[in-house]
Symmetry: C2
Subunit: 382 residues, 2 copies
């Protein structure tokens, strides 16, 4: 029996597809194509085509940001808490567009797809893609949809990096930039976490140099470890303490190597279930895109100079319990925007969960988004 | 040609060994033995036998805390910066004893050693040992050496946990307890890191259920990942930034999966070199001992109550840049000691490196140790 939908869900949605014949020029110097961009939309584009918001996804996200894929689907899109009627990204007012990034899994063209040039899956032949490459492809989608200017571009984490890149590369194609739980570039520690995740994957004997599809296996162990490691950085120490403490799964110590503490059980479950819904080559590509993002590097190391071309107004949001991209990293972005003479609002949300807070709906966070998006709607005439 | 020794080195040292026939009762309920305790000593025991200091090692340490193993040895013991003539643990005054813990590698009896009951290496048959088990075995060593009361017991990290356990289990067998870079028990996040390290090892196909010795292999990949992960927690984000920043190894981005950032190169080197000098089963055992340490658990969850039997005076030292065991964790120990009415001095050392700071010699740290150990020496009559 179909699950009852709450009245503020966008309901059942169907992914759409844009086939692009023209190869996409990439930062690495190669071109890539033909390729497919898969995306979803929620709400209606108004006649003036002024109410479109682009939502960019993070490492493990895809085009399915809100709603359900069928009557029996019980897992909504990844940002369903914030996208829908009456929610911050209010689909009664906005036309929300969320594309899957190139290199992803079960969305836009990615390493698991058929490579027409070789007759086998891309695997390691899939080019290394960057945040700027993704933004370049999203620009084509914008044009395909007949939208001259996004009312806003929004995203958290790796998604927020795409937002910043949009403001720099296509200044007149967006009016507002919502940069949530972001950093202007990864720290050495951030890169270190990514590198260990990658090493876990590539040293898995079932990785087969990235050609595991052809061997009928997946590097389960490596991808599981990568995801477990990711989870440590997504949750604050306090959140882990509140959620698990040192609770023992069986109630007492068993002096062995089976799961003992609840946190072990949680991490193993998270790691194992991820393997069934994600691709190892995609994980490698996404972490590389994170590592490479560094707009200041092309502006003599000066972030303010990198933002110089931007015309958008910015909302920057950080979360106090986020230790992956701490508020201090967001303040680097705010400081650079101020130095560059841009319009910027900044909110530091008191939170508990950690980096994943951007997916949730703490009252202060929702009030901040609502207040800002009211202004965006007003300007869009909706 | 032999390397010139600095005048404040203990010089060339030879490990000693204590064979124990009597099985050691363990927290897990089993007994273990016969076994060997390997240890080193530096300095001379005085006639009153009042100047002995026990040094307890941490996760990857062993009995070789100071000096060199031969004229061509260019790698001193793990705490050589702090142990030697004129150093904080001044071997002109103190008789310093450092045993290797049971379950270790190339020291006291461990999982790689021959199991007389089966005729093959212990491997997974080696019992899960705890901090209290180690302290119980160290007590036998103390008696073997004819020492009634240590002038002090000292250690950092997992070593500091042994120091706390000594103060609780053998109150009249030590006069001072030096608890450095410690936590009263692991947080859920600490356990999570350990669990990922263990999963990396046990899911390595060359782990063979812990019987890799018999297969002529070692779980290199898993142990390498575990060590890389450990390194992230030993260094502060700031230290990684200062050491590596986002420096590129080849000077420019190569859009590929070879080592690009210096921090990647560093971590891979650390991981790979660790495999040649450490044992995977030992890593599992050491992380479990860390996870299990929780003296409050046996005192209704009250740490102050756990410390009630202690007679030692305490010096607790933490480091501001340590995020594995932050100063807040050390203050939990200090607060509990104060609540329990114990003598405790506390120093929070401003530092940059992170958890590994306890192995270094920042001036404030050395002054703190020197000042405290002067008092210990005075009481010991040396």
């Amino acid at each position: 029996m179909a699950r009852a939908r709450s009245s503020n869900s966008v309901g059942i949605v169907t992914p759409q597809s844009l086939q692009v014949a023209e190869p996409l020029p990439l930062d690495c110097g190669k071109s890539f194509g033909p390729y497919e961009l898969v995306y979803e939309t929620y709400g209606e584009l108004n006649a003036a085509r002024s109410n479109a918001i682009l939502v960019c996804h993070a490492l493990s996200g895809n085009h399915h940001a809100a709603g359900y894929h069928g009557p029996d689907d019980d897992k909504p899109g990844w940002w369903d808490k914030c996208i829908g009627p009456g929610k911050p990204f209010d689909t009664d007012r906005f036309f929300v567009v969320c594309p899957a990034n190139l290199g992803g899994y079960q969305g836009s063209t990615g390493p698991g797809d058929h490579n027409p040039a070789t007759g086998r899956p891309y695997g390691p032949d899939f080019p290394v893609v960057t945040v700027a490459d993704w933004v370049r492809s999203q620009r084509l989608l914008q044009q395909h949809l007949g939208i001259d200017c996004w009312a806003a571009v929004a995203g958290g984490s790796l998604g927020a990096m795409q937002v910043m890149q949009w403001s720099i590369d296509y200044p007149d194609a967006l009016r507002h930039a919502l940069v949530i739980a972001a950093a202007p570039r990864l720290s050495a520690q951030n890169i270190a976490f990514n590198e260990i995740a990658r090493q876990a994957i590539v040293t898995d004997p079932e990785f087969h140099g990235g050609r595991y599809y052809e061997h009928g296996v997946v590097p389960r162990r490596g991808l599981m470890l990568a995801r477990m490691l990711g989870h440590i950085t997504y949750l604050s120490d306090e959140a882990m303490r509140a959620k698990f403490g040192r609770d023992l799964r069986g109630g007492r110590i068993n002096y062995g190597f089976d799961v003992e503490f609840q946190v072990e059980s949680y991490l193993r479950y998270q790691g194992q279930s991820f393997v069934d819904r994600f691709d190892a080559n995609t994980y490698l590509l996404m972490t590389k895109a994170l590592d490479y993002f560094d707009p200041a590097a092309r502006a003599d190391g000066k972030l303010a100079q990198a933002f110089a071309p931007a015309l958008a107004r910015f909302l920057v949001i950080s979360f106090t319990s986020d230790w992956r991209f701490s508020p201090a990293r967001s303040r680097e972005i705010v400081d650079a925007l101020v130095d560059a003479g841009k319009h910027v609002s900044y909110a530091e949300i008191t939170s508990d969960v950690g980096h994943d807070d951007f997916l949730l709906t703490m009252p202060h966070y929702v009030r901040t988004l609502n207040g800002y998006l009211d202004r965006v709607a007003e300007e869009a005439g909706v």
